[in-house]
Amino acid sequence: MKTYPYLIACEHCDTVYQRFAVTSGEVARCRRCSAVLYRASLLDVDRWLALTVAAAIAFVIANACPVIRISFHGLHNEATLWDATAALAHSPASPIAVVAALAIIVAPMLQIALLGWVLGLARAGRKAPGFAQAMRLLIQLRPWCMVEVCMLGTLVAVIKLSGFLQVLPGAGIWGMAVLMALLGLIANRDMRWLWELNEQRQGNEVSR
């Protein structure tokens, strides 16, 4: 099958354009529907990988440490993200726990792991085994990662509870805030140029 790597079709209206180079910070938009066609990546592979490693650390903190502690008449309690998911699971609303776990634990974890795999091997100059599957999963996971919604939800919960008990932020909430910011940088971006990077390298190997 013939392919046309020098063309790009707008994802939102199917208008076809010829690709041209964009410099850092520039965005190519569709003339018909003004959707973003592609943008210049501010991150090269090294920086991207570094931020992915940082996100992995933030992920561990966000999950292992309690997000909020409360004290109430001398009684203390604290909850991690896992406790929050478990609270849903042990209730009449239990099926929604699966979605919550996917949105705040599984999706970010997979995104970080897959990015680490793909970028780590790209940096080492090798094609990651399962590259195509990893990239597909990364693109499909994007709408299901809801760390920022969970962050806002936690803040609302803090305010809700602060009316009648003492609420203290745990280390987990800072981890989650950092994770949210880093995921915004590493996962919510145009990853398609990784295909091109990968193909260029393959091309070089063949020509060598």
């Binding site: 209206c13 529907c33 604290e78 909850a79 209730s91 929604i96 195509a132």
Partner: protein, 212 residues
């Protein structure tokens, strides 16, 4: 203004997943796959309109119990009560936390209702291959993609609050079935937006041009 040609006119298909522009081979019975990422190639998302409507209507139905049934049971000092989503908003408003009341109201009423209206409009006009306000409809679709998942806020709040307040006899907060239907509604409308193909918005254009 003269526009660039669309994929249909050039005899190419862009892979919906990885974006590679491929030659459109005539249908040979078996589905074509993208040579780069191996996902199925199709011009438009399959059964876009039918799936879009199905998920949207299912979401609308789930939204009814989500509002009627209690989402949370709270018992403070042995004084138990169940509250619905709107009840929670009113409580915040009455206690003077207007900002929080507004945030919850937007996430649990504003965003879902906008989604129902916008997706309904998009599906209806795309079905009729309307060429009305195409640019604006395209923009509306992108708005829905952007704000859609913020409705999950309520589910997260209930989960965190229920995980924290667990003091056996003194105070307990537990999720109730309403939050399940609410979460279900959010998922169904997300799926509806994902099934809808924004390219359909522009497909009325060529009909219009050929009639003129």
């Amino acid at each position: 203004m003269k526009y660039s040609p669309r994929a249909v006119h050039l005899g190419v298909i862009a892979c919906h997943l990885c974006g590679l522009v491929c030659e459109s081979v005539p249908d040979q019975g078996e589905p074509a796959h993208c040579p780069r990422c191996r996902s199925r190639l199709h011009r438009r998302r399959p059964d876009s309109i039918a799936r879009g409507w199905a998920f949207l209507l299912a979401g609308l139905i789930a939204y009814i119990p989500a509002n009627v049934l209690p989402v949370m049971y709270s018992s403070l000092f042995g004084h138990g009560s169940e509250s619905t989503i709107l009840h929670g908003v009113v409580e915040f408003w009455a206690s003077g936390s207007f900002g929080i009341a507004l945030v919850i109201f937007i996430a649990s009423v504003g965003v879902p209702c906008t989604k129902f209206l916008v997706l309904g409009t998009l599906l209806f006009t795309a079905q009729r291959r309307s060429h009305w306000a195409m640019r604006e409809r395209a923009r509306l679709y992108r708005l829905i993609e952007l704000i859609g998942y913020w409705s999950m806020l309520d589910v997260m709040v209930v989960a965190v609050v229920a995980a924290l307040v667990k003091f056996q006899n003194l105070s307990v907060i537990e999720p109730r079935a309403g939050i399940f239907f609410f979460g279900l509604m959010v998922i169904l409308t997300l799926l509806s937006a994902m099934s809808f193909d924004p390219r359909l918005i522009w497909d009325g254009e060529q009909d219009h041009a050929s009639h003129a």
